[in-house]
Symmetry: C2
Subunit: 496 residues, 2 copies
């Protein structure tokens, strides 16, 4: 019944069509200019549906009608080699439109799950899981201000046959119809059942499917155009409402002041001679592991977070000195660029996800949201509380795709930090490393500590555990880090 | 790692405990009074976690500390016979606290899914599905203003053993420890893994889990008390924020004005003699079906919606005249009662879900939200757009539990409605059936029509399809309804 309204034989005659199009085009162009001028919302348009229902023509016409400078079309056919090496969603993240722009998706995150299910390559429960992830992904998009418009172009079985025949009869369009289309037509009922499930499970208040009958091009295009226009206009013209307040009970610091950071034994040290020997040992090991033929099938991501002056930079240098420069990358995370601010929060991290046989080190990371942004009030409670789930979902996508994800928290004591700050101020060439901001952060030591404990509690999972590193002694910290790295990579190779 | 912070050996000494308790108790009592006085939010407290972690003691103490008039405790052990006949969530819906009250849940919607998974009665994917439903259920609760506080009492393996031994050694508490507890202790690692999955998947921004180490009673109870106090106070003291605006693209009426209601052939009639014969036939059939031994395993729910004056009442009378009065119930849905207004929207329907061997007819239903409430603006766009999913989830729970759900929309033409309104006004004893409200609704005919089409598009699924009934001719409508009823019940019995 879900599709019944889109099987009624909707139609607009040519005269009314010709009469309505100019005004619609003008309104769409104006909306597009206003959208770009506002620079606040990206627009994602998904044009999904049945073969022969006019998806391609619809996208082409929208392109023709609108200003090409502010719109990009994504066919999203077979994934490239580069894309196949990464989680399925990576290819979509990399082409998300920035604020003020429109992205038209002919293929989408729905395409392959549907084809896989109809072909029997996946089971019902797997499809359901994928759709659930899709729901969360789209919720994140709309939470981040994306105007998400999902069109589903539908045809009755009878009309699909007619459309395919019509296209075949016309020499100008014959090439559009392939054997694959006829093969899929024979599976119409199967497709329809899967489509129903997809639509039912992913039509939400925030991202509803808009089902449009595809048979009559005039009706189809006018309907799509009107809905798109409305969606953009509505958002631009409606007053901004303040973000919702989160009323949920928040985690409290433990009433006895005992937390995981307090249980670390920060007095552990490794004397210099022992250190050199250990360093050589684990360097050798790491070099060997990363040159092993099995490493070519792995992606490794290492995340460094820690107190200011805990020695992240030094530790990172000790890792990479064992690596082949062609196969690793260090991503320092500072304030986001303009380009990055025009995208959902996780975009700037997704873009650096490595392919196979590569290792990427994040010097600070996506955890900024639940650390500095939380403590400094740069984002609302709702945002950082949501971030725990968004991060877990993100990391699960990585590790499900075979990424080895290693996360370090470098912990030093408050006293040790003071010593290091003072030393930096006293040493000319290290002076740049200490700023008034560091001193300000230090005043919020307890709040940061609480945020760190929450972070570890809420994001340390089997697939992506945190390793807490006692870093008062740099030797000790560096060896523990190298040891952990080797162990995790070795284990992943054994499971290969 | 998720539980690491709750395995540190948290402790509060007796002196500090004794010192802190009086102030906490007083603050909790005050919060409870303020909560009751405000009458705006229900509080649901879930106390879940490991055996021996002190769940029972915690609940007992909270009960002792607070005002018994405004708090109710729910053990939720084995379901009763009445509960077993209905969907799993029914037993929770029936005891949800109303606004201003607190419900303490010792067992919850988490208990059985965890036990089933650990015992291997369900697979990982099934647990995941259940947890996903839980997420949505809890989202609905918090969207409806519920203050949801979820405590997870945890113990390390070592501490669990110690606690059980300690309880056993003390003659006063020995009875608390059973063989089952020791059996479960042996499965500690299995439980822990499942618990991690549960917490990870159901800890959301709106309904986070609060993990508390259970070993030391002072620490445990003070922590639980403080968090609960905070959660209630925060909600009462924080200013109300306006509800979020829904920016999503909304479904539009079709631009060619062709909708499913227009495709109905309202001229269909059945002459009186033929009607009497058919009526007798289907009455006999229905009587036979509902007296069949297989009917004892079915629950049937029939929903009647339709235009004003479409003849719902008459049709319902024609059904029940074939039924045994002991086995059916008619639920007329009008404005909600005070008691019902103090609960989430679907509560007043859940309470009438029939047991096995019973048939319940709803004269109007939960669809009010996407019909009259939508058109008249009684609820926000966000609420009615969300309602489609909430209703689909609700109905899926019914049909998954073997309920036969039959939904009728009785459609008459605008002209026919006018004729019937005028006839009612002219006939003395029918005069009460026509009100100024009916005339007002009639003015919004087109908006209602659009809402009906959206409703059918978005809530007609294989498990719970809508049947549109051409009702200009009452004979025709009544026979179509009886026929559909018989067919659906017959089909369900065949599948038994």
């Amino acid at each position: 019944m879900m599709f019944e309204s889109a099987e009624l034989g909707h139609k607009i005659d040519k005269a009314s069509y010709d009469q309505q199009v100019p005004a619609l085009r003008e309104a769409l162009l104006t909306a597009q200019m206003d959208l770009a001028a506002a620079g606040k919302y990206p627009v994602i348009v998904i044009v999904a549906g049945l073969d022969g229902a006019g998806r391609g023509e619809t996208v082409n016409l929208l392109n023709k009608w609108m200003d090409a400078r502010f719109i990009r079309t994504h066919g999203m056919g077979e994934p490239s080699a580069e894309e196949r090496e990464r989680p399925m969603m990576w290819r979509f993240w990399r082409v998300l439109p920035p604020k003020g722009r429109i992205g038209l998706f002919l293929g989408s995150w729905y395409t392959w799950p549907i084809l896989d299910r109809v072909a029997g390559r996946t089971k019902e429960a797997e499809l359901e899981q994928t759709l659930e992830q899709t729901r969360r992904f789209e919720k994140m998009l709309t939470d981040e201000g994306v105007i998400l418009v999902k069109f589903w172009l539908h045809l009755s079985k009878d009309k699909q046959k007619k459309r395919l025949k019509l296209l075949e009869e016309n020499p100008a369009t014959r090439w559009q119809v392939t054997d694959r289309d006829w093969k899929r037509y024979k599976q119409y009922d199967k497709f329809r059942a899967v489509h129903e499930q997809v639509i039912r499970q992913t039509s939400t208040a925030e991202a509803p499917w808009l089902i449009v009958e595809g048979h009559d091009p005039h009706y189809r295009v006018l309907t799509v155009g009107e809905i798109l226009l409305n969606a953009i206009r509505k958002r631009l013209d409606e007053p901004e409402t303040p973000p919702t307040e989160l009323h949920a009970p928040l985690p409290m610091p433990p009433i006895d002041n005992l937390d995981i950071l307090h249980t670390l034994d920060l007095t552990q040290t490794i004397p210099d001679e022992a250190f050199e020997a250990e360093l050589e040992k684990y360097h050798g090991k790491l070099a060997e592991l990363t040159r092993h033929r099995k490493f070519a099938n792995l992606s490794v991501i290492v995340v460094f977070e820690g107190n200011d002056a805990a020695g992240k930079g030094g530790a990172i240098r000790r890792i990479v000195s064992a690596l082949d420069a062609r196969y690793y990358e260090i991503i320092p995370i500072a304030a986001p660029s303009e380009e990055e601010r025009a995208q959902p929060y996780l975009w700037r991290f997704w873009r650096h996800i490595p392919g196979k046989g590569r290792l990427t080190i994040f010097d600070r990371s996506w955890y900024g949201r639940v650390l500095v942004e939380r403590v400094e009030g740069f984002c609302s409670k709702l945002h950082w509380m949501r971030a725990y789930n968004e991060i877990n979902d993100f990391e699960a996508q990585l590790t499900d795709n075979g990424v080895v994800l290693i996360k370090f928290w470098l912990a030093i004591s408050k006293d040790e930090q003071l010593t290091r700050f003072q030393a930096r101020e006293a040493t000319g060439f290290k002076h740049f490393k200490i700023t008034p901001e560091d001193w300000r952060n230090r005043e919020k030591w307890d709040e940061y500590e609480h945020a760190v404990c929450d972070m570890v509690d809420r994001t340390s999972c089997d697939n992506a555990p945190w390793t807490l590193v006692e870093a008062n002694d740099k030797n000790f910290a560096r060896i523990k880090i190298l040891k952990t790295l080797c162990k995790r990579i070795e284990k992943a190779m054994e499971m290969e």
